[in-house]
Symmetry: C2
Subunit: 452 residues, 2 copies
């Protein structure tokens, strides 16, 4: 492993150029017009993994977007690592807030700016390059399998079916994933918990056409007003969710564990400052790390209805819509929550409108035990590269497939993320520091060394 | 007046073709890209009125869109009628719901389908043709002035200044306006009251960029959730507006007048059926005609924020917006309400977001006394043409400039409207029955006869 640092330094430009080629494919999974780009990305991943040293790689169909599978079986008696990543990215709107083309990566101030630079093209590509190093230098003492999917940003809808159909192919001792963040460039951390997710679209229909708000206003229910009331009623003054049954299965975290969490570095003023906020807001009785780590949420991700153009058009609209998401915590079942929330909104709909709620996707929360050998190997790898032992962190994000892997493949995942809070994933000007990218490759290579 | 009916019948095709030429100009005042169309419409109105017999017509500038002024002074000792109309129209979205091009009028089932067919190109054009008949047959015993403006649909912002600057030019004994409806094709009615209006845009800003709803959700206020709460809190369970001071100056209508209103024809089942509604909804303690006629409203005309595209993007958005309108009733001052509402929303904004409220436009409510000679003349004209005495009706709509005319020019307006409830003004497939158009011309001609 002596020449690892040099190898990475010597191949830096090539690594970046190869990553940029992957980023240039606008593989936005939520927009059906980008379907051909999903196939382009899958084919490119196949080439990448073969070039890096895989014995076998192929693009495999699912009922949705394709999956790229690859493997190198060094010795059947060795332990097997399954690397999971995703080739799909989020939409880019609002496009006018991007300082450069989201699909033409550029490096500014040491950061790669592009959609997918971090999430998850940049992070998953590190695995290819760590693998390349180990194969080339005959240092790989594990079997490695790769599964790169194309539907993570839309809830990995077809991956569970794929896993069920390919249990033997995907058999491994641990799953390795880089799709999370560290607390800071100098504060290595490993995500040991993920929140679950459930997501709905709600439609409120009032009159059968847009009406004149003067002639009808006051006598006909306005779908936007009704939608606002329904949304508003879902949380109370303490920012607790009021939907009956919502908290029933929430795992209450012990005061011992909450005390331990409170010791993790957290700078509230800095946090507010970075977001441009005068005040934070969340569930009463919980700290900010607790609000994002161990408590569920109720967020409106989008809302629309009526006249949204320039100037002052008066109208009593026929329809209003919202996209609603909740983050879930351990023991909440996302399918149960999906049903509870749907039924709640349909039940509280006043008779003056018609409300329909469509469940779109979700997944359960996940917890990784810190005693696991693979976690310990990751811990040593971070310590080696960053010079500090990584902090275990419960993240607020969701990677629904992680809990599904546990259910279907019976394997825990270790979340070796190298993103930073400032990477603006899912936002305009997503970026990924080149330094994190290179250190990530180094850390992953060390993981294999310690894990084997 | 003997040949009036024949004249209208003989010239029917020509009248329609001339109107269609006017309708084909997409004079949408709320969209600045249509500014040149406002000038085209103003020039066409000048030609129309000169052709109909005006002594003088000109396009006059304002600080906004131009105004067409025309006049025929038959004898300075005669009474003078000022005809007011507007050449501008509402936007056409949602465009996909139109069955034919909104700016290419077609006649289907005896109705003219086009944006502006009723509001207000069709209705104001009737005045030109009634005027033409009277001039051509030397029957005009009044002086007539026309003022056709281009900003009615955006609140007539620059017309008050124009009126102040041209008080002498616009001097008249009464103002005549066709921009309202009748209760039905066989139920002639004259609008004797109009609601006022105030309109705002509200902006709620949370974090300085769109955030990952997993990493930040629960700890950072979501501007859409906050906006929904603010809007929801503005009305209570009885659909009364909760903004302090909002009702302070509302004129309570006497039980005598409410009883009289209750005698006007109103078919609740038919009303619901036409709108496709199972139930109506409005302020507790008031009937539907009262809710639209004598009570103020609080309607969200538009709302937007976050992800509104296809599929399930999770995001905690940076901003959310709504367009809010209230309809006002006599004695409420729209500028006072503008301020009260703005201050209220800015005051109740939680510290976790920044809220700004921009007042966009408004006007006061209006009441026309039924004892006025001009009202009596209109009443006789409707009776002559429709065979029934017209019902006086308080409409829920607003024509802000009507109360401004009273304030600046010191003149009451008579609202001789011929629209129908089914005309879908401000909506897709706006239409105007040819029969109403022709009867309107006839009724207006008789008005001059009786008024003189």
């Amino acid at each position: 492993m002596d020449n690892l640092k040099n190898y990475i330094a010597d191949n830096r430009e090539r690594f970046l150029n190869e990553l940029f080629e992957l980023i240039r494919i606008p593989s936005i999974s939520s927009e059906s017009s980008h379907k051909p780009d999903m196939y382009r990305a899958a084919e490119l991943w196949k080439e990448i993994l073969l070039d890096c040293g895989a014995d076998r790689a192929e693009v495999m169909e699912t009922a949705g977007n394709p999956v790229t599978y690859a493997e190198k079986i060094v010795d059947p008696s060795y332990p097997t690592v399954l690397v999971y990543g995703h080739m799909d990215v989020m939409p880019v709107d609002p496009i006018d807030l991007w300082e450069s083309d989201p699909f033409e990566p550029v490096i500014r101030d040491g950061k790669i700016y592009a959609r997918g630079a971090d999430d998850d093209k940049g992070q998953s590509f590190m695995h290819a390059k760590a693998f390349e190093y180990l194969v080339k230098h005959n240092l790989l003492k594990c079997n490695v399998k790769f599964i790169i999917e194309g539907e993570e940003e839309i809830g990995s809808e077809h991956l569970p079916e794929f896993c069920k159909a390919n249990r033997e192919l995907l058999k491994a001792d641990v799953i390795l994933v880089s799709d999370t963040s560290m607390l800071g460039p100098d504060i290595p951390s490993i995500t040991t918990g993920l929140r679950g997710l459930a997501y709905w679209e709600i439609e409120v229909v009032g009159p059968n056409r847009d009406l004149h708000s003067g002639l009808y206003g006051g006598a006909v229910a306005n779908p936007i007003n009704v939608l606002a009331k329904m949304i508003a009623s879902a949380t109370d003054e303490d920012n607790r969710i009021t939907i009956p049954g919502f908290y029933d299965k929430v795992q209450e975290v012990s005061s011992y564990e909450r005390e331990k969490m409170a010791r993790a570095p957290y700078d509230e003023d800095g946090y507010k400052h970075k977001l441009g906020l005068d005040a934070l807001s969340g569930e009463k009785g919980y700290s900010t790390p607790e609000r994002t780590g161990i408590r569920p949420t109720f967020d409106i991700c989008g809302i629309w209805g009526g006249y949204t153009g320039e100037g002052a058009k008066t109208v009593l609209p026929s329809k209003a819509y919202a996209k609603i998401s909740t983050r879930l915590v351990p023991n909440q079942d996302y399918l149960e929550i999906a049903q509870i929330v749907k039924e709640h909104f349909e039940k509280i709909a006043p008779p003056s409108v018609k409300v329909s709620v469509q469940y779109l996707h979700g997944g359960n929360a996940y917890v990784c035990p810190v005693e696991m050998p693979a976690y310990k190997a990751a811990e040593r790898a971070y310590t080696k590269v960053f010079g500090k032992e990584p902090v275990p962190v419960r993240s607020g994000g969701s990677i629904p497939i992680i809990s599904t892997f546990e259910e279907i493949l019976g394997q825990k995942s270790v979340l070796m993320g190298f993103g930073l809070d400032t990477d603006a994933i899912h936002s305009p000007n997503e970026n990924y520091p080149v330094e994190q990218f290179l250190k990530g490759i180094e850390t992953i290579a060390w993981f294999y060394h310690y894990f084997a």
